[in-house]
């Protein structure tokens, strides 16, 4: 099978009115340059990231609550057409927001929730962003749906592409966790393993995007639309708390996109009058083996110096985070922080969440729980404020991280006496 087949369509402009919903333009976050809606992601003036800007309609809580129990309940606030539900997609979102009293007690917090995105269709938050990217790809008539990925994104792209009937090609580092490779390969026979780091894979994708017409790389040339999907995490947290913003949120940071979009979601909800304005703090979580944003935060600089990642938290192993500077801005502006934890603390975070709340998280979630614990212990996160921690994905995809830390407490013959001898009775 050839990977070099050139598609016939050139995705340059949407072909129907309302293809991107109420989105008005693409706006550069750095210099404010306005670009037309299309497959554009970098500002032609300064290379800054382009972001979707809207002319929002009036939206009420009642309208949203009457919508489907997935991300399309917020479709008026996303760059998708009004008839988005008519097109095949994986319908992610509206995942559970669990009150985490056991974990709260363990850490000394009074009010804690876990936003659990491991229950999305391919078991990570990536189904949200991919659903929005798929809509953009469809409206731009792209013929190939593609991504560079640390695993979760590849799973989501492959599954969404299969459901939509569009060809997918997904690129991953060849040393990626085996379960994440299998979780992509079941949906597509075009999984490409690249000998290199995630940053190398990203670079390759950028080069392919510049050469292959008709390819929609979800986090490259349709990135502005893709990234908007993460806003739904923020919308859902507010709605599930009874239409109010939490006091504090702890969010894992790889490129930093998710954290910036949760902040954008909170601000939009305030602007639209859907929640009351109030102060909130946003905290970023990194693994020490790939912590360029945490390092910059602690050193008080605005520059995020790239690093070569070395951590078990591979979905956070992005040494050159595109949105790192915005994470710094947001965490500083809101009175939050960016912190990092060691790989051992990542494993401890996974086990802590599993054994207190029955949620098996992947290494990114272990990182986030580990950072939550560290922030409480060091007094930077107020234990008496309402706190939400985001679990981005499912632990079954990163089993190896804890496989050698857990196992049978005893191996016995099938008799009561043998069981009693273990000391596990009572």
């Amino acid at each position: 099978m050839s990977l070099t087949t050139r598609p016939v369509a050139d995705p340059t402009t949407p072909t129907r009115e309302g293809a991107f919903g109420h989105a008005r333009t693409l706006s550069c976050r750095e210099c404010g340059h306005q670009a037309p809606l299309g497959p554009h992601y970098a500002c032609p003036e300064c290379f800054g990231p382009l972001e979707v800007a809207y002319d929002f309609p009036t939206v009420t809580r009642e309208q949203i609550e009457a919508g489907p129990r997935n991300i399309w309940r917020y479709k008026a606030l996303l760059p998708v057409p009004d008839d988005i539900e008519q097109s095949p997609n994986t319908e992610p979102g509206f995942t559970r927001l669990l009150r985490a009293d056991n974990l709260a007690r363990e850490l000394g917090l009074t009010r804690l929730w876990v936003k659990d995105d491991s229950t999305n269709p391919t078991n990570s938050f990536k189904d949200r962003v991919v659903a929005c990217a798929l809509s953009a790809a469809r409206e731009l008539h792209a013929s190939v749906f593609a991504c560079p990925s640390t695993g979760n994104l590849a799973n989501a792209v492959a599954a969404a592409g299969a459901r939509a009937g569009i060809r997918t090609v997904v690129f991953i580092p060849s040393n990626l966790e085996h379960p994440k490779q299998v979780n992509s390969a079941v949906y597509t026979d075009r999984l490409v393993a690249v000998n290199g780091s995630y940053d190398d894979v990203n670079r390759l994708a950028s080069e392919i995007a510049g050469e292959e017409e008709g390819w929609a790389f979800v986090n490259v040339n349709v990135r502005p639309y893709y990234a908007e999907g993460s806003k739904t995490l923020g919308y859902e947290i507010a709605e599930q708390l009874g239409w109010r913003l939490p006091d504090q949120v702890v969010i894992p940071v790889a490129s930093g996109s998710q954290l910036t979009k949760v902040d954008k979601a909170f601000r939009e909800l305030v602007e639209l009058g859907l929640v009351e304005d109030k102060p909130y703090r946003i905290f970023g979580a990194q693994a020490t083996g790939c912590s360029p944003v945490s390092t910059a935060f602690k050193s008080g600089t605005d520059a995020v110096r790239p690093v070569r990642p070395d951590t078990i938290a591979k979905s956070l192993a992005i040494g050159n985070p595109a949105d790192g500077v915005y994470v710094l801005d947001i965490c500083r502006r809101t009175g939050g922080a960016v912190e990092d934890v060691s790989d051992d603390e990542v494993r401890e975070g996974i086990l802590l969440l599993a054994r207190t709340e029955g949620i098996f998280t992947e290494t990114a979630g272990g990182t986030t729980v580990g950072v939550l614990r560290k922030l409480v212990a060091t007094g930077r996160l107020d234990p008496d404020l309402e706190t939400v921690v985001i679990n981005t994905g499912m632990g079954l995809k990163t089993l190896d991280a804890v496989a050698d830390r857990v196992g049978a407490a005893a191996t016995i013959e099938p008799s009561y006496d043998a069981f009693a001898a273990t000391g596990l009775t009572g």
Binding site: E30, H40, Y41, A42, C43, P44, E45, C46, F47, G48, P49, F125, P148, S149, T150, L153, Y198, D199, D200, N202, R203, A205, S206, E207, A209, G210, E211, N219, V220, R223, A227, I251, P252, V253, A254, S255, G256, S257, Q258, L259, A303, R305, P306, R308, S315, L316, A317, I318, N320, P321, A322, D323, V325, A364, T392
Partner: protein
Amino acid sequence: MSVQVRIPTILRTYTGGESEVSASGTTLAEVLDDLEGSYAGIRGRIVDETGELRRFVNVYVGNDDVRFLDNLATPTPDGTQVSVIPAVAGGC
């Protein structure tokens, strides 16, 4: 020293649509100066007003990000490929 420079889509308006062009120079800074001589205006898109690489552009000499090397002073041996690539988001 002659090098090949890969041009991202958003800068191809400067190169007449060419995705790869030739330039010369013993360092990245000299290569960018030479590019400017051939394609006026392109240098200012890659470096900012202070003369530093813009923070959302990644430049590679060979396979290495120049921020792991000597930035604009990075040597560009004869035959090297220089790649100019916008930053890409990924992960969380």
